[in-house]
Amino acid sequence: MLEIKHLSFAVEDESAGKEIIKDISLSIPDGKLIVITGPNGGGKSTLAKLIAGIEKPTSGQIIFNGEDITGLSITERAKKGIAFAFQQPVKFKGIQVLDLIRLAAGRELSIADACVYLSMVGLCAREYISREVNASLSGGELKRIEIATVLARKSLLTLFDEPEAGIDLWSFSNLIDVFQKQREEIADRSILIISHQERILNIADEIVVLNSGVIEKQGG
């Protein structure tokens, strides 16, 4: 269970501070799939980054399973079970797909076990396992690898920032299946997806509309 209490986030602008998240309160109960949607620039990605610890809030609290994690680092939050799938996957030099999946799983996965996660996102695992996570992969491939690494974490709360971005339609159907399966498997886990995609909105237990840094609508 994640509880966000009166969370605000502002950036220093040239002239004055610009508030991107304005006093938001929100709960994400266990076993639920919540989708946050809304116009670009509304603060969706920032909210996800605040939860993962990538950004620090100006004020407010983030409570995860009863513990105040507002002051914890990205690493500490990851260890408590928060996973984050980037909208723009990060590229590396020399680090291979297998390395990244092993790091995500936090143990020496066998190649066969690592391949399971790649197959889940529609990649032919054998072709990708020893590829470098660099610009030789297409945007769609990188995105699917990003999602595979997050699935390998088996986290309590998984944040997906626009998982549909850069993914072709065929793989997208696959992805919807993955999310639905995840939800069926998770009694004590929750998923938060930032998305504009109707098909993702359709599988949500609850939809939150974020606009100009405030929750405009919320409902099942």
Binding site: A52, I54, S73, I74, T75, A78, K79, A83, F84, F86, V90, F92, K93, G94, I95, Q96, D99, L100, L103, A104, G106, T149, R153
Partner: protein, 307 residues
């Protein structure tokens, strides 16, 4: 051949030698050959007048290897060693060199290896060289290798040159001359830390039609260390050349990259790329979201980069 524990440690680090060596080899320890074996196709002969060896690889030799590691365990040793490789036409050989210095004293130890390769027509060479230093002494560990490669028509040479750790001062010089259809691939990895200095200088001449060189140097300069990379390719025929210096700086590390291309033929196609920067912040953040600490993330990124 009896090896002490320091010798064993250094040999493992530089040449993955753990126990028996297959094929031809010469192990040099503190300026003495402590073990040598020639084979039917690979003959190792000591030079006269200067320190070093001539290594003859018969034409058409296939799938054999030569190991010629050097270890230094006495503080204050300085040596210059000349090794010449004569690789026969159509031979296919792996050569594993490398030098490990353990300096526990307060005198500088220095090994300058001058390696010359005469690569016959259509021969294939894979050359692996690892440099490594250890020991707690204040004496420096210095390695100044010179590598010269003379390639006949249609030959291929793949060189992997790695300075892993602990070498205080290095000045590396690599010269290559390629005839028609010859192909040179160089993968250099340099890691410097503390107050170390590393200079690496390449001069590759593509002299024949279809000659091809791909020289990639990746470096990481940590602490207060300094690296200078001088990569030059000269195209004297219809040829292809590519150089790449890709470097990460950390702490107060400094790197100077000086890529140079010279085209003396209208059909020479030469490209260079050079990039220096610190580790990208988003790479660290991504690995932290996987549960790694910031320093664990840096280690993973560097290990991958220098792989």
């Amino acid at each position: 051949m009896e090896l002490n524990s320091i010798q064993q440690y250094l040999l493992r680090e530089i040449a993955d030698i753990d126990g028996e060596i297959k094929g031809a080899y010469n192990i040099r320890s503190d300026s003495m050959s402590i073990g040598r074996q020639s084979t039917e196709n690979v003959e190792i002969v000591s030079k006269t007048g200067v320190s070093g060896m001539d290594i003859f690889i018969k034409p058409d030799t296939k799938g054999e290897s030569v190991h010629i590691p050097v270890v230094m365990t006495q503080s204050g040793l300085k040596e210059t060693v000349y090794n010449d490789f004569f690789i026969g036409d159509n031979a296919d050989i792996e050569i594993v060199a490398g030098c490990g210095i353990d300096n526990c004293g307060n005198h500088d130890s220095e090994h300058d290896g001058i390696h010359r390769f005469y690569v016959g027509k259509n021969a294939k060479v894979k050359y692996v060289e690892k440099h490594f230093g250890s020991g707690e002494g204040t004496g420096k560990r210095i390695l100044n290798p010179v590598t010269e490669v003379y390639m006949e028509e249609g030959s291929t040479c793949e060189m992997e040159m790695v300075q892993i750790k602990g070498v205080d001062d290095t000045s590396r010089k690599t010269v290559a001359e390629l005839k028609a259809g010859a192909k040179l691939i160089v993968r250099e990895r340099l890691m410097t830390h503390g107050l170390q200095q590393a200079l690496s200088d390449y001069a590759v001449s593509l002299n024949g039609e279809g000659a091809n060189a791909d020289v990639v140097s990746r470096g990481v300069a940590r602490d207060d260390s300094y690296q200078k990379l001088d990569l030059k390719i000269v195209g004297n025929a219809a040829c292809k050349g590519h150089t790449e210096c890709d470097s990460i700086i950390m702490d107060n590390g400094k790197i100077l990259a000086v890529p140079a291309l010279e085209a003396n033929d209208v059909d020479a196609s030469l490209v260079h790329e050079a990039a220096i920067g610190k580790i990208a912040g988003d790479q660290i953040v991504k690995l932290m979201t996987l549960g790694l600490t910031e320093s664990e993330a840096e280690e993973q990124i560097i290990n991958g980069f220098l792989r």
